[in-house]
């Protein structure tokens, strides 16, 4: 790394503050294409969160012809998964960006597995609710 690079970095860190500091306070700038891919993954989780919210609210709002206990369980489950997906969007983006800045291995899909399992469970509950009626 040349002298001008070092000067550029120190000037940037003095004059600009990028939020959140837990991500940008450390490490080196990754390939911008990787950061953009991370941003797209974040947006995909946000869309997932909104879709799960729509599913959970629709189950109750439309009063679909299914067993009412199963409908209640499924709709609460989908809305909780929506909240979890929004958390995963932000936490996953932060952890991934930080790992890339530090040159570490990317984090595993921790909450993603919980959301996936929850969606599978929700589908089973909805199917059971239709069959039990």
């Amino acid at each position: 790394m040349g002298r001008s690079d070092l000067q550029g970095d120190s000037r940037r860190s003095r004059t600009t503050h990028r939020f959140p500091r837990s991500v940008y306070g450390d490490g080196a700038e990754p390939d911008p294409r990787f950061s953009l891919a991370n941003e797209r993954t974040f947006l995909a989780w946000i869309r997932t969160s909104l879709a799960l919210l729509a599913a959970g609210v629709a189950l109750e709002a439309l009063e679909l012809p299914m067993e009412s206990a199963a409908r209640a369980v499924a709709s609460v489950l989908f809305v909780l998964l929506s909240l979890l997906a929004a958390v995963q969007a932000w936490v996953g983006w932060m952890r991934t960006e930080r790992s890339m800045r530090l040159g570490r291995a990317l984090p595993g899909p921790t909450l993603g597995i919980v959301v996936t399992a929850g969606v599978c469970l929700g589908i089973i509950v909805v199917a059971a609710g239709f069959l039990l009626r």
């Binding site: 959140p20 941003e39 947006l43 709002a61 929004a86 960006e97």
Partner: protein, 90 residues
């Protein structure tokens, strides 16, 4: 319903219905405005990103917009939880 006399000569229930209707319309307008804002902000973010990448091969933004979007989605989810919870417990 047709031919019924109103319950209250002051039309309180009907005026309340109209108040709910304009609140619903205001919510719709707010949602459209929020969508338009996000759409324009995305275009500006892209323009800024493109300029910075072609000039210095470096991304200009940070996580502030992402944090705002994630917080909004989480608030929607909490609102949905209130709605579904009230519906289920009714």
């Amino acid at each position: 319903m047709s031919g019924d006399a109103p319950f209250d000569p002051g039309l309180q229930p009907e005026r309340t219905l109209l108040a709910w209707r304009r609140t619903a319309l205001a919510l719709g307008v707010a949602a459209v405005a929020a969508a338009a804002f996000a759409y324009l902000a995305a275009a500006l973010r892209y323009r800024r990103t493109h300029a910075a990448l072609t000039a210095a091969a470096r991304l200009p933004g940070d996580g502030a917009a992402l944090a705002a979007v994630a917080a909004t989605a989480a608030m929607f989810a909490l609102g949905g939880l209130c709605y579904v919870g009230a519906h289920v417990l009714r």
